[in-house]
Amino acid sequence: MSGLVGSRLAMRAKLWRHPRQMVFAALWYVFLGGAAVAVIMPYLWMLSTSLKGTAELFTYPPTWIPRVWRFRNYLDAWNAAPFALYFFNSLFVALVVTLGQLVTCSLAAYAFARMEFKGKNVAFALYLSTTMISEQATLIPSYLLLKELNWLDTYMALTVPFLANAFGIFMLRQAFMTIPRELEDAATMDGCGRLRFLGQVILPLTKPVLASQALFAFMNNWNSYLWPLIVTTSKHLRTIQVGLRYFVGQEGGTQWGIFMAATVFVSLPVVLVYFLVQKSFVEGIAMTGVRG
């Protein structure tokens, strides 16, 4: 490890020592900066459009900085469709799913991490196998099942199917296994039950993992589209993504200033959360995406 850091530092020092290295460093910034601009451009275009009046939308060549800043677009968009309701639906559903997943996942993860029981390996393999089955492939039977249960077009349909997540269980299990077993033995000696030990010792000790797990669950649910599109038909149950799609679809595609304003406030919460926690978030992806 120290060798690695040492060589990196040497690399950094070397980079600025020589004029040729300075050219390299400049090129490095040009390439990465260029890519960053390309990535950010659609966001800037979205922001710029969201502040334009109708007349300015349809001018050639396109302008990047609106001549007149029309903040009214945001108000108009917000009032043009029941976005407050859509926000509430998405927030409610995502919170229920996130909290529910934390409960079911920590219980299951604790069993897999710390208990010896018959059929453990089979159960674990079964749980992991659910990650191979995609939502798209089971869409039809799940829909028919909800129809039978009379759950179509209810909050149940939006939440209950997502109350467990094998990735979450796997990640929490990894985290729980790092808690020293001696701690549990000592607690058990003092008469502490399993459930209490999980709630009062393990969960507080693995807060960062729980937090990133919660974040993943929340974001995935907030951004989900196919499932809410299919299981809800009435307007008052639409989530924000479905609501946005119908809002843009119904107007026949001319009100782009207002559409972009709506798109800004639909994507803003997740982007804000991402910027607040981006470091741990990105590291989490790097760690869980490819380990070892």
Partner: protein, 328 residues
């Protein structure tokens, strides 16, 4: 359930101090204390998640196979027709070409962007794999499209691809002296347009995975190569590329899997058109199931999709081990 814990501990303590139980235990009770109760507790802990998986994952998988054997056009009752749905998918004069086209479209979408996507991602990851000021900022920015919802991103790109002259991309083409295009309404260009957006959206994830792979390559290999006088290109060809192999393969398979699952961007941007050129397998399934409500036929498509995804996922698990990934 948990109250007996203390007593069993007392028994163990007594056993340790005196060498025998204070109260002689029957063998059944003994088994219950050592194995049965733990197993029972464990299954109680697993129960909530297991119920969800059983009802909303395992049951639908089996149910899917069963439904595919029926003609089930809602709201009518299902009729058993054996393997006819599959037969139609592959031989029917109307269904077969449409399904065939959707398979081709899916693979066009999945494979079309991969070489460019991986080249860009790897290039950026190599550039980011330096300790220079600003690395984290760039990394954060590249990842932004991945966390933004597909619907929001699709709406923005619809506006970028707007067919009129004032569309951003057409404006750029006009400035370069090229003719404007109708992008999403052009049968030849709709899919490449979706692919381009897909590259933009998925790149950040690939960069992070590549970067993690790069950082796992031991630095001493590069140091040894430098001592031997290897140049940057030789180091890349002899060290980086081979050692990055598993990561590259992982990204390749994950990209194909995720592309095959794509739905939101198609539903928002093209609705499978123009002329069915962006109707992928998933979109075809959606049309069969939720536009014409032919549940049996849609299930047959789902079974084919399921088999396809299963094979790919299996390859991924086999080749790279049980690595976990996020993000659809």
């Amino acid at each position: 359930m948990f109250g007996g814990e203390l007593r069993s501990q007392c028994n163990v303590l007594a056993l340790e101090s005196t060498g025998r139980y204070p109260v002689p235990l029957k063998s059944v009770k003994n088994w219950w204390l050592s194995w049965g109760r733990e197993t029972c507790t464990a299954y109680l802990f697993l129960l909530p998640s297991f119920l969800v998986f059983a009802v909303f994952t395992f049951l639908p998988v089996i149910f899917s196979l069963v439904i595919s054997l029926f003609r089930w056009n809602l709201p009518r009752q299902p009729v058993y027709i054996g393997l006819d749905n599959f037969k139609w998918l592959f031989t029917d004069p109307i269904d077969a070409p449409a399904f065939h086209q959707s398979v081709i479209n899916s693979f066009y979408y999945a494979l079309g962007g991969i070489p460019l996507n991986m080249a860009i991602s790897l290039g950026l990851a190599l550039l980011l794999n330096r300790r220079l000021r600003g690395v984290e900022l760039f990394r954060t920015m590249y990842f932004l499209p991945t966390i933004t919802s597909t619907v929001a991103v699709s709406v923005v790109w619809m506006w970028i691809y707007h067919p009129a002259d004032y569309g951003l991309l057409n404006g750029l083409l006009l400035r370069l002296g090229l003719p404007p295009q109708s992008w999403l309404r052009d049968p030849r260009l709709a899919m490449p347009a979706l692919i381009a957006m897909g590259i933009w959206k998925g790149m950040g994830y690939n960069v992070i995975i590549f970067l993690a792979g790069l950082q796992n390559i031991p630095a001493h290999l590069y140091e040894a190569a430098e001592i031997d006088g290897a140049g940057e290109f030789a180091k890349f060809r002899k060290i980086t590329w081979p050692l990055l192999g598993p990561t590259t393969f992982y990204i390749l398979v994950i990209s194909v899997i995720n592309s095959l699952k794509a739905f939101a961007q198609i539903h928002v941007m093209t609705q499978g058109g123009p002329l069915g050129r962006t109707t992928t397998i998933v979109y075809y399934l959606y049309q069969q199931g939720f536009e014409t409500f032919r549940m049996g036929k849609a299930s047959a498509v789902a079974v084919v999709l399921f088999a396809l995804l299963l094979v790919l996922t299996f390859i991924q698990f086999k080749a790279v081990g049980s690595r976990v990934y996020y993000y659809d």
